[in-house]
Amino acid sequence: MLKSLGRRLLWIVPIILIVTFFVFALLDLAPGDAARTVAGTDADAATVAAIRHKLNLDEPLFPRYVEWISGAAHGDLGTSLVTNQSVAKMVFDAVPATVSLTVVALVFACVFAVIFGAGPVIWRWPWLDRISTAVCSLSIALPSFWIALLLTSWFAVNRQWLPALGYVPLTENPWEWLRHLILPAAALGLATAGELARQLRGSLDDVFEQDYALALRAKGLPHRRIVLKHGLKNAAVPVVTVLGVRIAQLLAGTVIIEQIFLIDGLGRLTVTAVLGRDIPVVLGVVLVATVIVLIANLIVDASYGYFNPRLRHS
């Protein structure tokens, strides 16, 4: 168990190198003059030259990359082309909002999964089964930003129950923090919620075909306790696997959701940076986003040991 975790940990660095080098190299590989592309087609020669200087585009690819990555290892991601701020500061300031949003979205997804995945197993009413399947399929197919707009329209514009915009840090006001995150997190997490619910339902069905499921019934435990205590823990591994795979997609979803709700997170920062062709910031975001995904996957892997004790000392 520890061995596989250790191996995953070791792979973090090479993956980051591959990914960041890929984006870095694109600048050189893209047709045309990189400095001109960044400056914009209608920029004057002076601006182009300034950009060339700022991005060190006169240097060949490899030394330029090594310089950037060694700076990154020390926490220095360069300065923004647009605002001249430290990229590292801009990116790290944006992380809490995105992490909050993603975590709340995940919590929402898990609750949804228990209701629509385990619910039909606890209360074996035939109509509940059919409704849950339909709800899950629906939630997977609906685009997240459309849901965001609908939810905002229903709950924030036409009825003023929840705020339509903005982010309040957790440390400032926990209740407002949550209130502001409900709509965006629901929109972001809905597709994942449907996937988790479907997987949970399937896994629970598998669990109930096991010998120990009958033994638990024979012990005289109430059905609900069997599903919620024993069923969920044994069904968790495949569900958590799905969750791990979807982390990257959740982070990708923050790009549009944060834009809609004007949350100053990594997603919004990405859009702003791309619109302004602020390459250093873009690189910084890619780096940090990848790190977040890798750490999240590490946590997912570590959790397997908790859910399936047989994996702990293998």
Binding site: Y212, A215, A218, G220, L221, H230, R310
Partner: protein, 347 residues
């Protein structure tokens, strides 16, 4: 299939049955097969008195496990339906009892242990947790008290360093140890009836005898009534007072253990006795030729007649035999039972 059914007058056993802890009367259980509900268990009747150990014997497919499910009230949980007869526990009819009423009985007054102990324990929770959970659910003890009780029962089933082992997970226990854990879990609430579904079949022979020894000891200490299911008459001989032999979903013979071995009345019982391997090897194993029929393909007349060495082709294929009494405690379902003089166990 029209056939004549031989009927005998009601036996004096019915009076004894009403004092029994467990009484199964004319039980029929059906499962969905080939788009219809087919009886896998038919007209099964037996009783178990307090303190007694009844063996339920038969090959796989004979209906033993389904019968045990009916005793536990778990027939719907395994996808079946009770279509006839009744099950009585301590005088109370449990045949159509609703789940809420079962909560006070299942696991508390009737407990069950299973054939595959390593697979019958939840792999995600510690052994101590699983026993304590049962205790808390039925006996309203605090967490601390329940845990202590769990450890004491682990100790009682002779799990070494029980206090430490209670924190371990099932996969760290061997098959024999897992079965001990199951026994501890089943007995922790001090039930009156234990249903043991082939508890030693999946274990090594040396481990088997230890587990049976343990059961005998605990039975004495706790005044347990046991229904012991097995396909092995040899094992049954060690622990049972009376035996009910099942074939093709029916009970074909019920008798005290001594009578079953010395003076069986049903050819199938004789066949089972003949197929017990003798220590020291010697002659080849005499298996009963043929297979147990599927519930959808039952032979006409007597269900055993195609495999029977004593078949009378005039009567057996066409007449469904009813139970015949031999004295107060011996019954057999065979048309030729009175005339046959079966040798019993050959030494």
């Amino acid at each position: 299939m029209p056939s004549t059914v031989a009927r005998v007058s009601p036996s004096p056993l019915t009076r004894a049955q009403s004092d029994a802890l467990l009484s199964v009367e004319d039980l029929c259980v059906a499962f969905p097969m080939q788009r219809d509900w087919i009886n896998v268990v038919e007209d099964v009747s037996f009783h178990v008195n307090r303190g007694e150990t009844l063996g339920l014997v038969g090959e796989s497919g004979s209906g033993k496990t389904v019968t045990s499910m009916a005793v536990m009230g778990l027939v719907p949980a395994v996808g079946g339906r009770i279509t006839g007869g009744r099950v009585r526990f301590d005088g109370r009819d449990t045949t159509n009892l609703d789940e809420r009423a079962w909560l006070g009985i299942r696991g508390r007054r009737i407990a069950m242990i299973f054939q595959q102990p390593t697979r019958s324990l939840d792999p995600a929770f510690t052994v101590g947790d699983q026993i304590a959970e049962t205790v808390r659910a039925h006996l309203k003890l605090s967490r601390r008290e329940a845990w202590d009780r769990a450890v004491s029962f682990l100790d009682r089933v002779r799990i070494p360093i029980a206090a430490k082992r209670a924190h371990d997970y099932p996969h760290t226990f061997s098959g024999g140890m897992c079965q001990r854990v199951m026994i501890a879990m089943a007995l922790a609430c001090e039930p009156e009836l234990l249903v043991a579904d082939e508890p030693t079949t999946a274990l090594d022979v040396t481990v088997q005898s230890k587990v049976i020894e343990l059961l005998q000891e605990l039975r004495r200490e706790m005044n347990l009534t046991i229904v012991y299911i097995s396909h092995d008459l040899g094992v049954v001989a060690e622990i049972c007072d009376r035996v009910a032999v099942m074939y093709g979903g029916q009970v074909v013979e019920v008798a005290p253990i001594h009578d079953i071995f010395e003076r069986p009345r049903h050819p199938y019982t004789q066949g089972l006795l003949d197929s017990i391997p003798k220590p020291g090897g010697g002659k080849r194993l005499l298996a009963i030729p043929g297979q147990v029929p599927a519930p959808t393909q039952l032979p006409s007349g007597c269900r055993f007649h195609p495999r029977c060495t004593f078949v009378d082709s005039g009567v057996c294929p066409t007449t469904q035999p009813a139970m015949v009494d031999f004295g107060t405690s011996h019954r057999a379902r065979c048309l030729r039972a009175e005339e046959l003089d079966l040798p019993g166990i050959r030494r």
